[in-house]
Symmetry: C2
Subunit: 107 residues, 2 copies
């Protein structure tokens, strides 16, 4: 029986360090030591954040020699997309959201 994961996607992305981790892993897969160089905290702290991200299935780890390489997995973000889509109907002017997005793209 699979244990209900302690951390869901909403919690996982609530922390700015973890969001930065996802950004960094989106560039390439990396072991913890390399990842840690991007952060002003210990490898242990990073390791814990990666654990939380893997509980939410946003990253997967693979042991390679003494390293443990982490890769990004975006699929669970779909839950967020779903959740957000419900609120599309509540934009005052239905075109507002689209306009906003188009303006962003032009930057």
């Amino acid at each position: 029986m699979s244990v209900a994961p302690k951390y869901d996607v909403f919690q996982a992305i609530a922390d700015p360090t973890r969001r930065k981790l996802l950004q960094i892993l989106s560039k390439k897969e990396m072991p913890i030591a390399e990842i840690s160089k991007y952060f002003p905290m210990s490898r242990t702290a990073i390791s814990k954040h990666l654990f939380i991200l893997s509980e939410a299935h946003l990253v997967k780890a693979e042991k390679k020699g003494r390293e443990k390489r982490f890769t990004l997995h975006v699929e669970p973000l779909m839950e967020l997309t779903d959740w957000l889509s419900y609120f599309d109907q509540f934009w005052d002017n239905k075109l507002d959201k689209l306009k906003y997005l188009v303006e962003k793209k032009e930057d």
Copy 2:
């Protein structure tokens, strides 16, 4: 000078009670006492959650007599949409996400 709000959107939606609050307020505006009926906790607790949501600008309050009516404001959710859109490029098969969404719609 505007003080940086303590709670951002990511934190605000991390809590399931607060997500439910947004859902409920999407149906109609409501005062705290009425909102509280939907939750197994005190008005005080709900009041605190609503404070956090208003810090993140996801709800706005208006005093009406002795009541304080809360309304949903979806605009800050755009930050989430933005953040999510960055990860669109990391679906293994670019069509996977679209397929997933279409299947959802058919339910």
